[in-house]
Amino acid sequence: MQLPRNFRYPFEAKTVGDFFNRFNTTVSEYIRKHVYVRLGSESGGALSASLNILLITMLMGLWYGLRLNLLVWGAVLGLFVMMEALLFPKIFKDVPQFYSRIYTFAITFVSFAIFTGDSLPQSAGYLAAMFGLGGVSVYNQSILYLLDSNYLVLLAAVFASTSLTSRVAGDFRARVPRCGSVMGALTHAGMLALVVGFLLGGVR
């Protein structure tokens, strides 16, 4: 049984549009195929293309729940996709990979503050806190405590979100094919067990 890949290292995306191609791909491909293409994609001119892009990114937001903040999350990212595809396509093609990745990471990272909230005011509160507005400092003792207590987990998460692990595993599999497959299966089983353990949570 072949399962489709749902995430293709979205944090390695070079543009916000590319991010959508890598993030929850089964959903984005479904929406693209059944909505975007049927609406004529970019064939009806700039205005029609803009509306189509905005529509599919907003639909992507609504896929995660019927909440206003998710709709806004989709719309905000949609505006960036429109800018990349219709206003400055050449700039985004020519800009060095390093800078384009930083740009994409910053936009998507900030956008998740909108995504995370349960309502639009809550998301606005997160955004304000993120930028040190509303009397909240950009960093405080609680943040230092969280970073200090979890830095190894965070480092592991950063490492695991890149394609580096996959490349190392692929290389290993190519050198020792039989052993590589067994190791791969064991690693996946171990990861599954760990994830279940973390989901169970609780100490007492």
Binding site: Y145, D148, N150, V153, L194, G197, L200, G202, V203, R204
Partner: protein, 356 residues
């Protein structure tokens, strides 16, 4: 077909493992994820592995408990700084204004005293500041007793248990020493007591259900006054029948699996300690909480009668029987987590009303 059969196996297994839980899920009384988490094969082992990894990753706080050198302590954060404390202060002021010698002692919790054992950058509630500001509010009405400095100065000693919220018997001695000096008593020196190490494997309330391991048990020590010899009677009042012990330390509890009850037979909402012989005199009324187990045995060596009331666990009719005029001194002694998270002094007003 095979896939369908395979997909049916996990729910069938879980239902067989916990039929009652399964029926609760069907009736909507239990969340499915909670049910699965409870009955998952090897769930306990997986949970523990995840916790061990978190610990290896630098995490030192789990479920509101800090882990340090084989010990646990609660990260005390008040729900609201003024929600209950203002009401408690008002009641204390009212009792104090009735002309009874009133003393107030707010005890810091372990995480304030043992700050050097808390994780780096851990945002701790400033208990010292709260105690000082409360004492300023009470100035002029009640005599305040600040046990924070003496506990903090001795934080390298065993002043709090590793597995229990309470101060140790030694911590209790330090509290008593500070309080006695303020309450016109001559505190007895530590040498006046012989120490008996009664239990070496005590695991307190913090250790109950702790899954990560690595916690070292505590030692329960009993401080026995050498001279003058006194006869003590500890009475626990209860609707189910009173319990009476003719010692401050009923050691039979050590072998009954409830070692902490070796202190006064445990802490009941309404207790009375009577002492005869030697230099005992006066009557003390204590409004307090579970921390009393640490310091009351020392106070018992001074007073003819001590009545202890934990107002949270008392019925109104029981409180109505107390007459404040029968006592020479009244002590409000609360751990900060009790004082700030509940209306613990409310019933003291009833005691005052009884008198009128």
């Amino acid at each position: 077909m095979l896939l369908a059969v395979l997909m049916m196996l996990p729910p069938l297994y879980l239902t067989a493992a916990d039929p009652q839980g399964a029926s609760e899920v069907l009736r909507g009384k239990l969340k499915p994820e909670r049910f699965i988490s409870r009955n998952l094969p090897f769930g306990g082992r997986l949970r523990r592995t995840a916790l061990e990894l978190r610990y290896l990753g630098g995490q030192r706080e789990f479920g509101g408990l800090f882990v340090y050198d084989g010990g646990l302590m609660e990260n005390f954060q008040p729900v609201d700084q003024f929600l209950y404390s203002n009401e408690n202060i008002r009641v204390i002021n009212e009792v104090a204004s009735a002309g009874v010698l009133t003393y107030v002692m707010l005890l810091p919790t372990a995480c304030a005293v043992l700050q050097h054992h808390t994780p780096r950058f851990a945002p701790l509630y400033d208990q010292k500041r709260f105690i000082e500001s409360t004492y300023r509010t009470l100035a002029g009405s009640a005599t305040t007793i600040d046990a924070y400095p003496v506990l903090f100065a001795n934080s390298d000693q065993s002043v709090f248990y590793r597995t229990d919220r309470n101060p140790t018997a030694y911590g209790g001695y330090l509290i008593y020493q500070t309080a006695a000096a303020r309450m016109n008593l001559r505190p007895r020196p530590l040498q006046a007591f012989s120490t008996k190490y009664a239990e070496h494997g005590y695991l307190g309330d913090l250790a109950a259900g702790w899954q990560l391991g690595g916690v070292k048990p505590d030692i329960l020590s009993l401080y026995l006054l050498q001279t003058p010899s006194k006869a003590y009677t500890v009475t626990h009042f209860s609707a189910e029948g009173n319990r009476v012990y003719h010692t401050l330390y009923p050691e039979q509890f050590l072998s009954l699996g409830e070692p902490y009850r070796a202190y006064l037979g445990g802490i009941s909402p309404h207790m009375e300690i009577a002492a005869k012989g030697g230099d005992t005199s006066g009557k003390l009324l204590v409004f307090g909480d579970r921390t009393a187990a640490a310091y009351l045995p020392f106070f018992a060596t001074h007073y003819e009668r001590i009545t202890f009331l934990d107002l949270k666990g008392l019925q109104a009719e029981e409180v109505e029987r107390i007459r404040i005029g029968e006592y020479d001194q009244v002590l409000f002694a609360y751990s900060l987590d009790t004082f700030m998270n509940g209306s613990v002094c409310e019933g003291a007003q009833t005691v005052l009303t009884n008198e009128k």
